[in-house]
Amino acid sequence: MLKHLRGAFSNDLSIDLGTANTLIYVRGRGIVLNEPSVVAIRHHQGHKIVEAVGTEAKRMLGRTPGNITAIRPLKDGVIADFQVTEKMLQHFIKKVHEASWFQPSPRVLISVPCLSTEVEKRAIRESAMGAGAREVRLIEEPMAAAIGAGLKVSEASGSMVVDIGGGTTEIAVISLNGVVYSDSVRIGGDRFDEAIVNYVRRHYGSIIGDATAERIKQEVGCAYAGSEVREIDVRGRNLAEGVPRSFTLNSDEILEALQEPLAGIVQAVKSALEQSPPELASDIAESGVVLTGGGALLRDIDRLLSNETGLPFIVAEDPLTCVARGGGLAMEMMDKRNIDLLSS
């Protein structure tokens, strides 16, 4: 009862609970929060105390003393640490309702990977309820991404969306407000970072952190051989000498480093195309495929997929926020037109 009363003063939220970033979309206000899914925990006399959440906690990753642990509570798109996820969500929901006089109790729509198990979905639902939500709905990530990217999901025409997130890549063929085919591979931005760390260790005998690997990916990373070559200066700890050393990496090297995860994504996309019903495959061949998620920002990934599949791949506008925006729009559509877009 009290939750419903508080709910009158809360906004409806669409949450993209991602492995790398959590985004929150509020109806009528747009994206109001975009922070890393990182929580710093301080261990004090056997108790766990939340030290920092989001951007502040991410700055602590790899730089914490013994009694503080900066952790990512989500792994491969699903909850790895239930309690920490709950705390993180609680913090974000509170942050979104900073101006409110009452403790928030919003209706929440959360996007989940399309191949999530019932246990994983339940964990997300209960985590959000524990964080103060009064009602939790789940939507499949590619459906939210397609709506957020502006695809006409309600038409009797096939649309294909590839959402490259931090932990997983979701591929789905959508028609008539439903997912006709979907697949999820555990390859995403984190695997790209990991591949860069491994490459640097193998070829330069140096160790770099995840944050440095991410910076390299964002600044010089590319997915296509014909792309413009860029360089970056990096400092890492030399394994042989044990001291920090500086070296230069170029985009061709990063392309080489990313070959394995990229091949995994290409394979998954080809597989999805193969398994699409012929009529929908024809629609997709005519219109093309939309790329969303942070991975879509990897330079020339659209060209790579286009060359590999022979279809036009287009990167959605502001691909990072497509899922959160799509979730928000889905909520509106469901309220206005009573359409069921939810995950079963």
């Binding site: 009158a8 003063f9 979309y25 009528g28 206000r29 747009g30 994206i31 109001v32 101006a99 006089w101 709506i147 957020g148 990217a149 502006g150 695809l151 006409k152 025409s157 649309s159 413009e228 061949a285 005519e286 219109s287 093309g288 939309v290 659209d302 286009s306 060359n307 022979g310 279809l311 036009p312 791949f313 287009i314 990167v315 959605a316 506008e317 502001d318 926020t321 925006r325 799509g326 928000g328 729009l329 509106e332």
Partner: protein
Amino acid sequence: MTTDPSNPEVDHPYQSPGTILRQAREKAGLALDDVVAETRMTLHNVRALESDDFSKMHSDTFTRGYLRIYAKLLNLDVESLLAAYGRARQEAGFAEEDSGNSLQNTVPAAPGRPLWHFAVCILALLAGLWILSIWFLGNDGESETLTSESVVEAELVASSGAASSTPAAFTETAELMEPEAEVALPEEVNAAPVSDVTFLAETEVLETDPLDSLQLSFIDECWLVVTDAQGDVLVTDLVQPGRELSLQGRAPFEVKMGNAPAVQLSLNGAAFDLDVPAGTRLMTVSVGQ
């Protein structure tokens, strides 16, 4: 993203995106088939783009995506081309059916809240203030009542104390008694009913507790200490000649006089013979035994 901001075709404000693309393609010496081979778009879509026939496109998302791919191929400035496309759409009178999904929603708008939220908050605030004021007023009434009661209680204590032990209780004469009674009035409590209550209470106490009365008159200066049966000291003073004292207390009174020949005593109106031996000044007698 390859850009060429200096490209004059793109900068021209009145050129449609189709014209810009066609001119750039012809300038680059590319055939439509080359564009199709490079971009993987269908020939149908490439032609539609060059002829500004956007209605044939699947959706605005795809049109924008195709324009980006085509612009990159021809080294055109993507943003300028998209701006030209936006103008062309406006001129063509396209309904903004896709605007709900467009980028504008990603920009955090000013935190707006439904008006009724504010109305409810203000009403709740007013109701809260009203309840608080009622509570405070109720408390004030209660405290006033308590104050009156406490004044009465205080007066009762003071009067009983005065009657029994303190020098303030002794009433010298009628003219001395009046100012004493005025002093005994609670100065803080100006309300007439409260004063009445105080007087009544005092009177009641005096009436319900009949005491013995000891009158003393002095013809000369005399030091005097009077103690009653309960051991309360009623007076200890150097009394000037010509004065008369009337003390209330329990008999027998022990009267110690520094100048006994100068004192005349009477108990409850009856004269008490001191029988002072000759040459004796200091004397202690027990009156009313």
